[in-house]
Amino acid sequence: MLRIGYHDYEALRKHGEETYPHECCGVLLGKNVAKDENSLTPMNHVQHIVRAGNTRTDSAHNRYNIAPQELIKIQRQARGLGLDIIGFYHSHPDHPAQWSTTDFAEAHWLGCSYVITSVEHGKAATTNSFLLTGTEEDNKGFEDEPIEITIATHVTEEVTYNEKG
């Protein structure tokens, strides 16, 4: 499961609208929670998102790439916040929010969440998350992952609902 705050969820979708018709991309910072009282399966809990630049300016309408230098800066930022890189997001302009063969071939962060938002005619439509499972390149796979969106009602209190009901 991916748990993400409403503000961050809307922000990553808006990013896809802003870069339309090009793909956007960014990094999810947070913590992987092996199990907690509310979840029987491992969960990636997003606590901060970071927008990244798409270096694929040659083909930005159907490709994205985050420069390693930028990733290193983001990893330092995460370390400073006491967080980890737990996933990534990108958009599919006028294309379903499903992983592509390119997404799969280029996915190497096992255990991390890959969030994809379809942006139809400039408006964010569906957002899906896929967990990269497996223990090595030869047995990796994408699994559909539920998204739980949390809404902060007070500074110290959160209520949750499951997007997929």
Binding site: E23, C25, V27, N32, R56, S59, N62, R63, Y64, N65, I66, P68, Q69, L71, I72, Q75, R79, D84, I85, I86, F88, H90, H92, P93, D94, H95, P96, Q98, W99, S100, T101, T102, D103, F104, A105, E106, A107, H108, W109, L110, G111, C112, Y114, S118, E120, E136, E137
Partner: protein, 115 residues
């Protein structure tokens, strides 16, 4: 020197985000890293011993592939190595029947808009 480990590989370093490994060159540090954490080897190197193409290694802010001496570059205890797998992708081929259905729906919407 310190080596920063990316999230997916921390299960092979006892959960550590940063490990300290001695060595006079990048290569020596890597060799020692593999001795200390042997399960990392297959994730960093091919069977031929070459760094996997999707694994980026930075010495401070420099990609070791572009250093003059590459992995033979000398290092000090205050230098830092960062291992960072690449992140890329993008839409292209459809992957499932669900995709086909969604794409068909988009085309139908476009047709309806144009009529």
């Amino acid at each position: 020197m310190k080596i920063h480990i990316p999230t997916p590989l921390r299960s092979y370093t006892s959960g550590l985000e940063t490990v300290s490994v001695p060595g006079a060159t990048v290569d020596a540090v890597f060799q020692q890293l593999i001795v200390s954490y042997p399960d990392l080897k297959q994730h960093l190197f091919t069977a031929e011993g070459k760094l996997r193409s999707f694994v980026n290694v930075y010495l401070n802010d420099d990609d070791i592939r572009y250093l003059d001496a590459k992995q033979e570059t000398t290092v000090t205890d205050t230098d830092e190595l960062t291992i960072i797998p690449s992140i890329a992708g993008g839409k292209n081929n459809l992957t499932s029947k669900r995709d086909t259905t969604a794409l068909q729906r988009m085309k139908e919407d476009e047709d309806a808009d144009s009529n």
